[in-house]
Amino acid sequence: MPKPVKKASSTLREERNEIRDILKPYVAHGIEFSSVDGDEAVANCPWCDKRKFYVNTESGKWKCFICGKGGNIILFLRALADTFEGMGDYEALATSRSIEPDILKKWGIFWSPLIDKWLVPGYTTKGKQISQLYRYMTINNKLKLLPTPTLDHQLFGLHLYDEEKEVVYLNEGPWDGAKWYEALSSHNDTEGYISKTENITQAIISRVNVLATPGANVFFERWLPLFKGKTVILMFDNDHPIKNPKTGTTQEGAGICGVKRIATMMLSSSYKPKAIMYMNWGVAGYDPALKSGTDIRDVLLGNVK
């Protein structure tokens, strides 16, 4: 009986001229696979830099046979976060985003030298651990947050969530969330009078949670239990209505659509919040006097007159 022919090694792109889905999350974080040998893709290990980093193309699991690290893609992301935590020029990012460096660190944001990009972690509701890393990068001349491919969207700021607190602010995007968090950490609200404070235990943040979704149209049922019995305040952007170019009909802005959708989901579920409130920019859910896309950060930075 003839021996089976060993499958020749090949580069990723030679084989099918595309990156396999199962390897995409690794490639997105800077892993360069030099070959695919049978059912294993091989690359240099981001930790020990030896070419013994293997990813099984069936299961998606990785292992380095030199440093011994291994696991699935989620563990890979967590290992990156553990290794590169606190790395990066936070002053530069703080200037760019107008958010204090300490707050950026508190929200888990870190620099990845593998791809020279800032990474923003998203957390799963179970155990509040990192299950997604968003890459802050330029796409079509615009800076955007791109999720790690093939993985679910997650909430930002969830690792700071305290179940004892009755109020939850839900912002649109981590930058808004972090800026709102910064504002509430440095101010107190005494009988409606807002004042600055250096004492975090007296600041508004000691009584409220601040979370952020990846976008106004991104919200999942698996997040609903977080809001059960809470006062939820939706803080989405001032998006103007847009005209559908194909049909000519006018559609509501994404921000107000998001508010309606999430409020409906929450009230239809068995995890009903105590109350749902929202940032009401104006009649019909937006203020035409403010630019479309004006957000909480713009208001806090004084860009809104």
């Binding site: 504002a183 509430l184 101010h187 004042s195």
Partner: protein, 439 residues
């Protein structure tokens, strides 16, 4: 920034009602809303208007509610089988309790651990078991489980779960351990369900029979009611939602039942604290437990030499638990005869079977000796199996067997009940429950 915060806080207001659009979704996701209810009597009153309400249904509902309220308390779990002929109303009760968020309804499943996603350390667990923690699983048509090809696997997983611990290892060496599982199971179906828990590893379920056979007169009454209801409902159009599938009376009864389930689960700790149980009723539970242990013992299918029955500790624990839970469900603060009557009914339903029929056959013969032939005539059944059971009942101490010489001739051997079983039977049947009421 201070001005910015003020600007924002000044604009925060409640989401107006017109923002909320609750769609009626077909299939799977629309739910009937529960109505607030804190009284068992109020629930029953609503059911009397919705169905031809019988004492059997009353006991069955109270037992189902007891299973639900017992989920988080310490001790042997209350798993119950609700049995009755088709169309006797047990599915209606199962649907009603399922509308509560504390109850998960599953018509069929391939295993408690299926749905698990392959990881070693990822905290996502898609198994059915992870969704059932601290809830009650209700299967309204348990007969479908009997058709599962991996029935034995499901039952052995269930037996583990009953003990509040479940461990599984998959062929990819991934595994998952579950500890401290609080989960009760209500299984509804026909008498075929008796086969389900008759393993040699010990039974976990208590049984409750809704209806023993079909009463002709009652059936005629129900058929007339049902014919009229169907004729009326044919004039209405269903829009595919759960709500429009039921008559207003049924819907109201279901909503109150769901609300009552929520009330019981949310206040279980407080309600149990105030329940008093006297020694008299505690002793009755021990007698009932022991009696049921004798009655549901069966000859081993695998070992010819071994004849033993279960030790009654678990049964006693279950019956005491059931007693206290029923007291809470019936809005009482103390165990009384009405509660005990229901517990006895459940105990006798659990004990139901050929052994009990034999015992009654001999007992009703003035407790005198009865021959094997007479027993066979009295209870029917396959001769070989009955003879094997009689021998087994002798071996475990329910019956004794001897032959008498009369005028020098050895008579045919006869059976009689042992003294200890006579005493036990008389203790448990004093004030025997008949159709839900003490006779």
């Amino acid at each position: 920034m201070t001005n910015g915060i003020k600007y924002i806080l000044d604009r925060i207001c409640e989401v107006p009602p017109e923002f909320i659009k609750i769609n009626n979704v077909q299939g799977g996701t629309d739910r009937v809303e529960c109505k607030k209810c804190q009284s068992y009597k109020e629930t029953i009153k609503a059911w009397r208007k919705a169905l031809r309400w019988t004492d059997g249904l009353d006991v069955a509902l109270s037992v189902m509610l007891s299973s639900i309220v017992s989920v988080k308390s310490v001790g042997d779990q209350l798993w119950v089988k609700i049995m009755g002929p088709a169309s006797c109303g047990k599915s209606s009760l199962a649907e009603a309790i399922s509308i509560s968020k504390y109850v998960v309804a599953k018509s069929s499943f391939t295993g408690f651990h299926s749905g698990y996603r392959e990881t070693n350390d990822e905290d996502e667990d898609n198994s059915l078991l992870s969704k059932l923690r601290d809830t009650t699983l209700v299967t309204k048509d348990g007969d479908t489980i009997l058709q599962q090809p991996n029935l034995n696997q499901i039952l052995s997983e269930a037996r583990d779960i009953y003990d509040r611990v479940s461990r599984v290892t998959f062929k990819n060496k991934a595994g998952r351990d579950h500890h401290g599982l609080n989960l009760t199971w209500i299984l509804c179906g026909t008498a075929s369900l008796r086969y389900l828990d008759s393993s040699e590893l010990g039974a976990r379920f208590l049984d409750c029979v809704v209806m023993e056979g079909i009463d002709d007169e009652m059936e005629d009454e129900v058929l007339w009611m049902h014919a009229n209801k169907t004729e009326r409902n044919m004039r209405l159009i269903s829009d595919g939602t759960m709500v429009s599938q039921y008559s207003p009376e049924e819907l109201h009864a279901m909503q109150l039942t769901g609300g009552y389930v929520d009330f019981l689960r949310e206040n279980a700790g407080e309600l149990f604290d105030s329940v008093l149980m006297s020694e008299k009723y505690l002793k009755m539970c021990t007698r009932l437990g022991k009696f049921v242990a004798f009655m549901r013992a069966r000859p081993s299918k695998m070992q010819q030499e071994c004849a033993e029955r279960e030790f009654a500790a678990r049964l006693v624990g279950q019956l005491v638990r059931l007693t206290k839970c029923l007291t809470v469900v019936l809005n009482k603060h103390e165990v009384d005869d009405e509660v005990m009557a229901r517990v006895k009914k459940v105990a006798f339903d659990t004990a139901r079977g050929t052994s009990l029929n034999i015992l009654r056959e001999i007992y009703n013969n003035d407790k005198q000796e009865v021959s094997t032939q007479a027993i066979l005539i009295g209870i029917g059944g396959e001769e070989k199996k009955v003879r094997a059971l009689l021998r087994f009942m002798r071996d475990v101490g329910i019956l004794s067997f001897y032959s008498v010489k009369s005028r020098g001739v050895v008579q045919k051997p006869k059976y009689r009940i042992t003294d200890k079983l006579v005493t036990l039977y008389e203790q448990v049947t004093s004030g025997e429950l008949v159709n839900g009421h003490t006779s």
